[in-house]
Amino acid sequence: MTIEARHLHFHYDSETVINDLSLSIIPGEITALVGPNGSGKSTLLKALARILRPQSGEVLLEGKPIGSWSARAVARKLALLPQSPEAPMGLSVRDLAGYGRHPWRRAFQGSGPQDRAAVDRALALTGMTSFADRMLGSLSGGQRQRAWIAMALSQDTDVLMLDEPTSFLDMAHQVELMQLVERLNAEEGRTIVIVLHDLNQAARIAHRMVVLDQGSIAADGNPAQVMTAQMLRQVFGVESDVISDPRRGTPLCLPYSAYSSGPDLEP
């Protein structure tokens, strides 16, 4: 199951979002896409999932242009969870997870035993079994996010793409979610492409970090190679110490000063 982007180019109006970007996702790995706001992370993710069509360049899924696949066929191969999705609040967790079975069902076919099994497994993996009949509106933010992930999991795909799944979650829920992602990768062998805002989170779980800056890849490699004081200065405009995580040995950055006039900083 390979996904490869070749010479992607995107612009909204006159603003270039992705500029001649090529990237190949390695199966079985956790790939983290990081970068400052507006660097094109979400756009890249959506292009990889066939939700956005690039103005030029192409995405290949199993060697074939992704545009030549039907939406449904792509949805059986990869599941994307967009950033902060919103569902009708009166939907139950099980209903939402059940939507993930859509690509596997023909029109007007009810849910079969296979579908129910997939939903149950997704609920169990996300720890949502006991919340299955609760309405989304009655859940906390962390629970709701897990219900969404259950939907993406019941889609039963080799590849899982998550766009900033930890935003708006408190610390415990963030850690919990990161553990879930690692488990899905380690125990189920799923390929994971995840956009993360928090560099330290990305360095902790990812096999490979891809740093985007103004629509191009600024750095690409394992976290130890990528997370350097120089990269942080160039791409994020911060001066920082990079130390080793005492528990895991992965790099950990501690910013101490920002270039307030830096080109990549938010106003």
Binding site: A71, P85, E86, P88, G90, P103
Partner: protein, 322 residues
């Protein structure tokens, strides 16, 4: 759902046997067993009440389903034919034809109402969605109000200048009182086609209600679904408004009531909204005939009495989402 069905059938039967004139339950059974063209009450039942009840049934269903489609596709609890400038647009189209070509055939009237309705809804949706981005129910409602005001003002202008106030009265008051088998025959095919399309599209609409990106990542064809839903909405609401004039709020209220009974899945909401819409309009029509006989109370008043509280209830409940 079965409860809704039973209520609907009950109200339909009641609607057939109630009213000015002497036809009652036994007459209904007689007509069903063997129609006798010599008897007045048989004629009343067959040529007046039956088409009228059937029209109310179909138009109510059409409006309910149209509202459900609009709410699902736009993910907006306020999307509905009434609030989106459909009535005002259809009224304008009607007025234009009546002025330009007085005595135009009924088909032309329907076509013009269709066209006007399409313009009204298109403008409101375009304005409310394009400018506002995601989830802005208030914006959509205000866009609809503005477009309604604009098209309504132009329509009133045309009516006054063309001196056709009498001819459009049926439209202003709304209702199915004048509908016979002929008018019904013209509108019914459109409504049936629209209902079928809506049912076929309902699984895809259900996915769209989760948001565009999620729907796309689940393999739904977003643009196709939108287009199909828009066509179905226009067929349903356009045909309804062309036959029954300004019957407001059924399209807003029915989907919300459906959600109460069957939850958030549009595969169920769409058919149930149709049933509820049909029930509401048959009931409203029945009330219109029987409240103050022999006068007809305007159906638009009765549906506003149902719809306005629903609107206010949505406003109170969903302030956080708005």
């Amino acid at each position: 759902m079965s409860l809704v069905l039973v209520t609907m059938i009950g109200i339909c039967a009641l609607s057939l046997v109630q009213g000015a004139g002497s036809a009652d339950a036994t007459t209904l059974l007689e007509v069903l067993n063997g129609f006798d063209p010599q008897k007045t009450d048989h004629l009343i039942l067959r040529d007046l009440r039956m088409p009228r009840a059937l029209a109310a049934l179909m138009i109510g269903a059409a409006l309910g389903v149209a509202g459900a489609l609009m709410q699902g596709v736009t993910r907006n609890p306020l999307a509905s034919p009434t609030l989106m400038g459909l009535n005002a647009g259809a009224g304008l189209g009607l007025a234009c034809v009546l002025v330009v070509a007085p005595g135009a055939p009924f088909v032309a009237l329907i076509a013009s109402a269709f066209l006007g309705a399409g313009i009204g809804v298109g403008l409101s949706l375009g304005l409310g969605l394009a400018a506002g981005g995601a989830s802005a129910p208030l914006r959509l409602a205000l866009a609809g109000a503005a477009v309604s005001a604009l098209l309504g003002a132009i329509g009133s202008g045309v009516v006054i200048v063309g001196e056709i106030a009498q001819d459009v009265l049926f439209f202003t008051a709304g209702g199915v009182q004048g509908v016979g088998w002929d008018e019904l025959g013209l509108a019914a095919p459109w409504i049936v086609i629209g209902l079928l399309i809506a049912l076929l599209a309902s699984p895809a609409v259900s996915l769209l209600s989760l948001g565009e990106d999620v729907a796309a990542s689940l393999g739904a064809r977003v643009i196709l679904t939108r287009t199909v839903a828009a066509v179905a909405t226009l067929l349903l609401a356009g045909a309804a408004v062309a036959i029954a004039g300004q019957v407001g709020f059924i399209g807003l209220a029915a989907p919300h009531l459906a959600r109460f009974t069957v939850g958030q899945d549009y595969r169920r909401i769409i058919p149930v909204a149709g049933l509820i819409g049909a029930t509401l309009l048959v009931a409203a029509d029945l009330a219109a005939r029987t409240l103050n006989p022999p006068h007809e109370t305007p159906v638009s008043l009765l549906t506003a009495l149902i719809g306005a509280p629903v609107l206010i209830w949505i406003a109170r409940r969903s302030a956080r989402v708005l």
